[in-house]
């Protein structure tokens, strides 16, 4: 049960996250430019070669950009989750994390609040991206067919997938000891998670191409986040995706709380004197 202190603290953590986000304009721009390049350049090229047969949740043949949109939404959240973990490492190095950890708030609450703030920022980014994609459709630059209700029904899917990717980033941040090591996270986490998934190509097509690659995709929780968003954008609920994403979120959160426990995670990083 949240008490007054917790509610104000959660508001404080959200306040700081949004202040930092709006001050880092480059972060906001890159969060939008990256998926827009994929959408406007990559999908435009591929739509000529990719014929996508009707496959749930789609009921008819769809243009390739329609297929890509959920993957790009998840991509925004993936980068945002890793950006949040970078921010955790930065806060730890700069000492801001100590300020949080020396408040009378339970450690799990601090971590969940940080996660929640990160998810809120990722929602803002995803909707900014969807708004631009909508205008591109209006001006017939791309062909995007998302039901109006889909913009609302996707919110729970974005919340849960954002939570999973944020929790994974948080658990990772506990293992990365220095900011400089974060480049490794980019190479070994973000890119494999994104490319070895159903973000760019449908699973049935991947299965035809390579069964091993297909197996790798179905063991990647990011695939389930993408599919959860895909179904939700079309007003449908993907149960298997929700279960996998939910379970992965809880495991990652548990690992993060374990790693940030005063008797474990920060011990190795503490200053000695």
């Amino acid at each position: 049960m949240m008490n007054g202190l917790m509610i104000r603290a959660l508001y404080g953590i959200l306040y700081r996250e949004f202040l930092r986000f709006f001050q880092q304009r480059a972060r906001f721009l890159s969060a939008l430019v990256r998926p827009l390049i994929w959408l406007l350049v990559f999908s435009a090229g591929w739509r000529q070669t990719q014929g996508l047969a009707p496959y749930p949740p789609y009921e008819t043949y769809i243009p390739y950009e329609v297929y890509m949109i959920p993957g790009l939404c998840a991509m925004i959240q993936l980068f945002n989750g890793m950006q949040s973990s970078l921010s955790m490492i930065y806060d730890r190095e700069m000492g801001s994390m100590r300020v949080l950890l020396t408040t009378p708030l339970p450690r799990w609450f601090i971590l969940v609040s940080r996660l929640f703030a990160g998810v809120a920022v990722s929602l803002l980014q995803v909707y900014a991206f969807l708004a631009i994609a909508f205008f591109c459709t209006y001006f017939e630059i791309i062909e995007l067919d998302i039901p109006t209700l889909g913009y609302i029904t996707v919110i729970p899917a974005l919340l849960i997938s954002g939570f999973m990717l944020g929790a994974l980033g948080m658990a990772l941040s506990a293992t990365v000891k220095q900011l400089e090591n974060f480049a490794g996270v980019m190479n070994f986490v973000i890119f494999p998670m994104f490319f070895i998934s159903s973000a760019l190509f449908p699973l049935w097509r991947i299965k035809d191409l390579s069964y091993t690659f297909y197996q790798m995709c179905i063991y990647n929780p990011f695939t389930y986040a993408v599919e959860l968003i895909r179904f939700a954008l079309h007003g449908q609920f993907y149960v298997e995706g929700a279960l996998v994403v939910g379970a992965t979120s809880l495991i990652a959160l548990f690992l993060a709380i374990y790693a940030y426990d005063p008797s474990r995670g920060l011990k190795a990083k503490g200053k000695r004197g």
Partner: protein, 262 residues
């Protein structure tokens, strides 16, 4: 006192509840013993200087008091509430100024303080009032809307002290807060904190290795190689060691301790 001592046991030893009570605390990094059976109390209104050379165990002790590290042996209680019984809630009466700057450089002074006030559960109107009070006391209110990045080291330190006082803590813990500051700024900060202790009944635990920051009426704890080797008022310690300055007594105590170890 054992690890599982109750709060009542801790409180019964004295009518006045110490702002902080450290009882039988030991800590080691692997095989290296960093703190060895450390015990002391700091009372309200008392300015306590924790003196020790580099590697004496000061920072480890502060990490335990701020609960950044878990306390495996012994008991730490703040205002009568032990970590063992109350967990993070025991940190409520604690204000901390870390050695390293912990302000968000890209936010303004006001934004930094508002953020902290919310973390401490202060309502917005109270936070605004306290921000003005604490910054004015440190002659910093006119810079409230400046970005922290644009402030010099001394001003940043004043903002950190103002922040640590926003929730009116009973215990203020400062980890070498004057490192890297010029003499005049150091004097302003040392005077301000001594005044806080005497006028506002705040217990202060100030770690340092700069002798001129310690006044004759202060309570002094000397830590060496993880052990407390002196604990008393500066006057008493000077008299006991027949020394004229804290600097002389510190050198003599450390030498004696090293002789004993040989």
């Amino acid at each position: 006192m054992t690890e599982h001592a109750t709060d009542q046991q801790i409180n019964s030893s004295s009518d006045i509840v110490p702002a902080i009570s450290v009882e039988g605390v030991s800590y080691n990094y692997g095989k290296r013993l960093a703190l060895d059976d450390v015990s002391f109390d700091v009372h309200p209104g008392q300015f306590t200087a924790l003196l020790g050379a580099n590697g004496a165990g000061k920072s480890t002790l502060l990490s335990l008091i701020t609960r950044l590290f878990d306390t495996p042996n012994g008991t730490i209680s703040i205002d009568g509430k032990s970590f063992a019984s109350h967990g993070s809630k025991a940190l409520a009466p604690l204000g901390v100024v870390f050695q390293q700057t912990t302000l968000d450089l890209d936010l303004s002074v006001r934004q930094n303080l508002r953020y902290f006030a919310r973390l401490r559960g202060l309502p917005s109107a109270v936070a605004s009032q306290r921000i003005e009070e604490t910054l004015s006391a440190l002659e910093m209110y006119e810079r409230v809307d400046e970005r922290v990045r644009d402030l010099n080291g001394g001003h940043r330190r004043r903002v950190e002290i103002a922040r640590s006082m926003l929730h009116k803590p009973k215990l203020l813990l400062l980890d070498e807060p004057t490192v890297g500051l010029d003499i005049q700024t150091r004097r302003v900060i040392v005077d301000h904190i001594h005044k806080l202790a005497s006028e506002n009944d705040v217990a202060v635990l100030w770690t340092t290795h700069l002798m001129d920051e310690i006044w004759d009426d202060d309570h002094l704890i000397v830590l060496d190689k993880g052990k407390i080797i002196e604990d008393g008022t500066v006057k008493d310690i000077l008299a006991k060691n027949e020394a004229s300055s804290v600097s002389d007594v510190f050198e003599s105590i450390i030498n004696q301790a090293e002789e004993r170890l040989k």
